[in-house]
């Protein structure tokens, strides 16, 4: 379908909000209608002193346990039949745990002193799970399954919904407080058509997941707690609106949105503005599976290859050989293309037993990312060795960068380690405001930088990115964040490229030596945070001097389409107006006013 056939008058219903309408922050575009299914809350531990109800004998309580076990087993067995592969094996094994005779016997013994069935099951499950956890390794991982069974049994005994994702048997709008990484891993994209959370901010796991799946999402909508199972809602993930019992106007709008999304032009593999100015569009990936999605989306390479997947959940460091094999698998998917690999980003919300401390009072401000290498250097040295070995064996254009760099000294130290390992193109992430402000000095050694806008926003605004109540602060449209991006863009343009600057003396401080250098002689400034996936913000970032954008593969098509609607001059004009805005809301409004294509495409 051609781009020109899109109805240009398209717009969502802008009638005044009814009192039942729910507002939040739109974090993933799209408008759909579907029925609500709520995420059941976690099961609370029964009180340690909880006794069986008066008149119930031990045998009565035991019968309640076996009945609950049969219910949970049947439920899990039925769910196992709807899936395949590993997920099926896990559900079948979990179903057996629910009716396990060892668990039932252990619980029965605990009924002797008058405990309630709920309390007995809770304690018996806890004791078994702790034994598993103490064994570590594979058994340690299964401890989580036992805790899950324990919660399901107690929920069944109480007659409440099982915790976790609902299973209404039809596609649904998932309503939750917020999603945890574990929920996002088990969520079935064929069933969930939109996400609405009462908590969580624009950079929460919920928001990141929604953008990766390409489904509309509204977060930080406190009124979402009033939505009940089965009610029909209209969800507008652009404007952050949720309307229960939608009218004909909203139904027509959801139909229109479905047609608009089909009108996006597939990405042809070269990111450019309408004047031909090129902006490489790259993919963020976390492993081989995402690499396939990136190739399908025609991504020009990888702008952020997260390597945590290899390390998380392990008691010991993976061997160099193991790392080489995993890196090669990703590099092999991008022959001749750029792959920017981020070295291990552990700490804060990604703890690692062999590398990070878990007793820091402020983990987000603690020893994380590059900082873990100050005490335990060998882990980083080993990783760089593995990257170099994998690079030499494949044909990808491999770049390496460190997370959580705060100073030019740290950048120089990291780049030095990379060069010792033989790696040719080495840079750093800019996530800490101090690094953004001193970017000119960082460019003295770094070959490139990549802005991690999620953490840069969190640190600039001093607002925890997981806190929904701070979502207004935690917004990459905040003018303070955009000013830092602008500063880094200017430093990048002024930097002396080691390749282009063959005539200048090595070691010259590029930040001040060639302030008049043209874009062609600067150093690359990428963005690999969630901001790059917002088509309006992508235009602003390019206008501020960003040279490449890396995002979830799903977003590339929309970002490319919107970038092609402006020239570099226009992007710079929009960026200048946006960066001068007094508030984030003004910044967003100004950008949208200059970009009518957003409305046309329903973005």
């Amino acid at each position: 379908m051609s781009n020109t056939s899109i109805p240009s008058t398209a717009s969502a219903p802008d009638a005044p909000a009814a009192s039942s309408d729910i507002t939040g922050v739109g974090v993933s575009p799209g408008r759909v209608i579907g029925r609500v299914a709520r995420m059941a809350p976690p099961v609370e531990a029964p009180d340690p002193a909880e006794k069986a109800a008066p008149g119930r004998s031990i045998d009565d309580e035991y019968a309640r346990i076996t009945d609950a076990a049969a219910v949970v087993q049947a439920e899990l067995t039925a769910r196992a039949e709807t899936v395949s592969g590993d997920a099926r094996d896990v559900l079948e094994a979990t179903a057996l745990m629910a009716s396990d005779p060892t668990l039932a016997k252990a619980a029965k013994k605990l009924l002797d002193d008058g405990r309630s069935a709920e309390r007995a099951v809770w304690e018996a499950g806890t004791s078994i799970a702790e034994q598993f956890a103490a064994l570590g390794g594979y058994m340690g991982e299964r401890a989580q399954d036992v805790y899950d069974v324990r919660a399901r049994l107690v929920a069944a005994l109480r007659g409440v919904s099982a915790p976790g994702l609902p299973n209404p048997g039809h596609p649904y709008v998932l309503v939750a407080v917020d999603l945890a990484p574990a929920d996002t891993a088990t969520l079935d994209p064929a069933q969930v058509i939109a996400l609405v959370t009462s908590d969580g901010g624009p950079q929460s796991h919920t928001a990141i997941l929604a953008r990766a799946l390409g489904i509309p999402a509204v977060v930080a909508a406190p009124q979402a707690t009033t939505l009940v199972d089965g009610v029909e809602v209209y969800v507008d993930g652009t404007r952050g609106r949720v309307i229960p019992d939608p009218s004909d106007a909203e139904r027509a709008d959801a139909d229109l949105a479905a047609r608009q999304s089909e009108a996006l032009v597939p990405f042809d593999g070269t990111g450019r503005l309408s004047d031909g100015h090129e902006v490489a569009l790259l993919a963020n990936i976390g492993g081989v599976k995402d690499a396939a999605a990136a190739v399908d989306a025609n991504a020009q390479g990888v702008g952020l290859f997260r390597t945590e997947f290899l390390f998380l959940g392990r008691d010991t460091e993976p061997s160099v050989e193991e790392q080489v094999s995993d890196y090669r698998a990703v590099f092999a998917a991008f022959p001749g293309k750029k792959v920017v690999l981020r070295t291990l980003d552990a700490g804060a919300d990604k703890p690692l037993a062999f590398l990070t401390n878990d007793d820091e009072p402020n983990p987000a401000l603690g020893i994380r990312g590059y900082r873990t290498s100050l005490e335990k250097r060998q882990v980083l040295v080993n990783q760089l060795r593995a990257i170099q070995t994998a690079r030499e064996a494949e044909n990808a254009d491999v770049w390496v960068m460190a997370p959580m760099i705060a100073t030019a000294d740290e950048a120089a130290d990291f780049v030095g380690l990379c060069r010792e390992a033989g790696l040719p193109t080495n840079g750093v992430m800019i996530e800490v405001p101090s690094a953004a402000l001193t970017a000119a000095h960082i460019f003295a050694t770094a070959d490139f930088v990549s802005l991690g806008t999620n953490d840069l926003t969190q640190y600039t605004m001093a607002a925890d990115r997981q806190l929904g109540s701070l979502s207004a602060l935690n917004d990459p449209w905040q003018p303070a964040v955009l000013q830092l991006v602008q500063h880094v863009g200017q430093a990048g343009r002024a930097a002396v490229s080691t390749e282009a600057g063959a005539g200048s003396a090595p070691g010259v401080d590029g930040g001040t030596a060639t302030a008049s250098a043209s874009a062609a002689t600067g150093k690359p400034v990428g963005v690999c945070g969630e901001a790059a996936a917002d088509p309006a913000l992508a235009v602003v970032l390019v206008g501020l001097g960003v040279t490449t954008l890396s995002m979830t593969s799903r977003a590339i098509q929309a970002v490319s389409t919107v970038l092609r609607s402006v020239t570099l001059d226009e992007a710079q004009t929009i960026a200048a107006a946006v960066v001068a805005a007094p508030t984030a809301a003004d910044a967003r409004r100004i950008a949208r006013e200059h970009l009518p294509i957003l409305e046309t495409l329903g973005l």
């Binding site: 396990d100 060892t102 058994m139 036992v146």
Partner: protein, 89 residues
């Protein structure tokens, strides 16, 4: 008391799917069956939690025991099951 030893053939050991299939078979037998490995106690072979706690890996030897009518035949069937690569099916 009938007793029979078996070597675990499943590549992943007696976990996940192989364990589920084994327990299904145990529950079909007319007698109660125990399982032990590497000097462990005799544990209830119909309990996935007990079986998992054995940590029986590929190549490990486990001991099955049962008493009563049909015990010998039950153990023979179960041992053969363990000596098949259940994960490959």
């Amino acid at each position: 008391m009938a007793e029979r030893q078996a070597t675990i053939a499943s590549r992943v050991g007696l976990h996940a799917r192989p364990a589920s299939l084994f327990i299904d078979a145990v529950n079909r037998q007319p007698v109660e069956v125990t399982i032990a490995a590497k000097g462990s106690d005799d544990l209830d072979a119909s309990s996935i939690l007990s079986i998992m706690s054995l940590g029986a890996a590929n190549g490990d030897v486990v001991t099955l025991k049962a008493e009563g009518e049909g015990a010998e035949a039950a153990l023979e069937e179960l041992a053969q099951l363990l000596e098949t690569d259940l994960d490959a099916e």
